[in-house]
Structure formats: structure tokens, C-alpha cells
């Protein structure tokens, strides 16, 4: 699904979201709910600046994945996954959990191919491992049975 379609679905699902934009780590807009391209660029750059500033504020080593900034005028939400980010604005007193959930779902649907490919590989490897593990278990289960025979006699 492309970013524009994901954002259209997002605004349809979440009535709390006023505007949203998907952009990369360079601030390049992939999709926006704002029709005017220039305004979407400005919004993406402002959201990227907010994320960068939040990254500087952090104290630990862990990566910043999402943020919510509540102001008297409304709230700003941003979710980041790798190089792609989504930012959205809401009115006052939004349900933060729901907004984050919707933003994550939208971000996930923007780039499903990039994520599903490694997941399949992992699944195949995991399946092989589990087969090998079950074979070992079977062998291990058989061994005590053969050992018991001499004990029994």
C-alpha cells in the first residue's frame, strides 16, 4: 500500500487525527493528508525537527521510537520505524494509546514488503530449527528406553 492510501485509511479510521504526514529521515514527504505539496513539506520538516530535538533530549542509549507532545493548542504524535516516520496532529485531550496504535498500523501498512521478507526467512529458519529440535527430542526419548532394558533384566 502506498503512503497516500495508508493516510487516507488512517484519517477515515481515526477521527481524532487532524493532519498526518509520512516522511523519510531526509524530511522527504512520502504522503500527506494535506493537499498542498509545499505545506506538506513544511509540516514534514517541522516534524523531523521535533524528532531530532527529542533525540537530543534523551538520556540513554536506546533509540527513540515514538513521541507525544501535548500543548494548549493540541497534540503532536510521531512514530518512527527505521528511516520512515509518521507524524500527526490532534486536538486537545486525544486518546494517546489509540492514536499511537493507528499511526503504527498506518506506518506498518506503508512498507509491508520490506518487513515481511526477513520475517519469512526467520520463519523458515525457525521451522528447520524446530524440526531438528523435535528430531533430537525423539532420539533422546528413545535412548532411555534402550537403557532401561538392561536395568530391568
Amino acid at each position: 500500500m502506498d503512503a497516500q492510501q495508508a493516510l487516507a485509511d488512517l484519517t477515515e479510521i481515526s477521527s481524532q487525527i487532524e493532519a498526518a504526514v509520512v516522511f523519510d529521515d531526509q524530511g522527504k514527504v512520502a504522503g500527506s493528508t494535506i493537499a498542498e505539496g509545499d505545506r506538506a513539506d513544511v509540516l514534514a520538516k517541522a516534524a523531523a525537527a521535533l524528532l531530532a530535538a527529542a533525540e537530543e533530549v534523551k538520556t540513554g542509549e536506546s533509540v527513540l521510537t515514538q513521541l507525544e507532545v501535548s500543548t494548549g493548542e493540541g497534540s503532536v504524535f510521531a512514530v518512527r520505524d527505521g528511516k520512515t516516520s509518521i507524524a500527526a496532529t490532534t486536538g486537545g485531550n486525544p486518546t494517546a494509546g489509540l492514536v499511537f496504535y493507528d499511526l503504527k498500523s498506518a506506518l506498518r501498512s506503508v512498507k509491508p514488503a520490506a518487513k515481511s521478507a526477513p520475517a519469512k526467512k526467520k520463519t523458515a529458519t525457525a521451522a528447520k530449527k524446530s524440526t531438528a529440535a523435535s528430531a533430537k527430542k525423539k532420539t533422546a526419548a528413545r535412548k532411555p528406553a534402550t537403557r532401561k532394558k538392561p536395568d530391568a533384566s
Binding site: E18, V57, G60, S62, V63, L67, V69, T71, G72, V76
Partner: protein
């Protein structure tokens, strides 16, 4: 007469106090919550150095989103 004046003053005082309380509550609601990959969360309330930096940027984002 004096009673009604006192009552009116009391009501006006209560309204002023209520308005101040609501305004103060609104201001204290301003905050920034940062969530990290390891599951930790950092909440910066209005007045802290981090929030002082993030709140103007967030206001700018909201203004850009609402600009017509």
C-alpha cells in the same frame, strides 16, 4: 442588601478562582512523552529544559498543520 452584595462578591470570587484553576491546569497539561525502543519512557513536564525545547517545535507543527 449587604447580604446580596456579599453573595455577588462571593460568586464573582469563586468564578475568578475557578478560571485561574482551569488556566493553571491547562498550562500544566503541556508535556512531552518520549518512548524508546527498550520500552522506557521519558515524560517532560512544562518547565523542564527538554519540554521548553520541544513544546515550541510542537506548536509550530500544529500551526503548520492548521494553516489554511
Amino acid at each position: 442588601m449587604r447580604r446580596s452584595i456579599a453573595a455577588a462578591l462571593g460568586v464573582a470570587g469563586g468564578m475568578l478562582a475557578g478560571a485561574a484553576f482551569i488556566r493553571r491546569q491547562g498550562a500544566s497539561r503541556e508535556r512531552a512523552d518520549l518512548y524508546f525502543e527498550d520500552g522506557s519512557m521519558l515524560s517532560l513536564t512544562n518547565g523542564s529544559p527538554g519540554a521548553e525545547r520541544l513544546l515550541p517545535l510542537a506548536r509550530e507543527v500544529i500551526r503548520n498543520a492548521r494553516a489554511r
